[in-house]
Symmetry: C2
Subunit: 145 residues, 2 copies
């Protein structure tokens, strides 16, 4: 039994982010890939929709410039023939401030001949915003509004 | 071929929320169900972990008191023998203010003998907070911080 495409892609993605080595990830991305990270693009420029291998490699490079993956736990997973979805809890380090950030995300991925052909990622964006771009008093402001 | 448990559960859940009819949903929930909506419990008391049919029915009642489901689009889906995951885009109405709210979520569900035995739900919580509890100037505050 061959390894599921998700495992190969996941390993290559984390290597790209943590070691800025893009040689393994590039051949695992379909030329016509559709990629979306749902969430506030104005707060997180890495978010949003991208189409095509070059655009996706560029986003992965942008992510690699901002964070390191410290660890991740896969809380839920479903594997299909050329599909995979999972929910993950990431512990990251923000490179700019060296600050730890924890964030949960879910992804739905499709593969074609072992290459990523589409992926949608949903992130707990408030959790992320509160640890990065929002000031600490934000929730107090909200509570008193 | 019998209908997948997800479809039956989804129909009964939306009927429970929109019509406050809980007779269909109750027998579709395992007595020992584990239920989690990830996100800020202090902002949204319906969020968090619940265990057991009664606790879950209570959360569904709380949700039914706050929102109506106007429509939903299933953007991604994976079905297994007794498992299902999907990403959904909901258009809701907040009953208190009659305000429309759009929110995206992902869920991972397990069924046992056709009954929901566990579910994890991840919501784009910033999108939800900005349309409900956060004041309109919130993002400006964040941007200038």
């Amino acid at each position: 039994m061959t390894e599921h495409s998700l495992w190969r892609f996941s390993r290559a993605l984390h290597r790209a982010i943590n070691e800025r080595q893009f040689d393994q990830i590039e051949p695992l991305i379909d030329e016509e890939v559709e990629w979306t990270i749902h969430g506030p693009v104005d707060l997180f420029p890495c978010f949003g929709a991208r189409r095509g291998r070059e655009a996706v490699l560029q986003v992965i490079r942008q992510i690699a410039e901002r964070v390191r993956v410290h660890r991740f736990d896969r809380e839920s997973i479903m594997l299909g023939v050329e599909a995979a979805s999972s929910m993950l809890r990431y512990s990251l380090t923000l490179l700019e401030t060296n600050k730890p950030v924890r964030v949960r995300l879910a992804h739905f991925a499709q593969f074609r001949e072992g290459r990523l052909s589409s992926i949608r990622i949903l992130i707990d964006s408030l959790e992320l915003a509160e640890q990065t771009v929002y000031p600490p008093h934000m929730r107090t402001v909200a509570a008193s509004a």
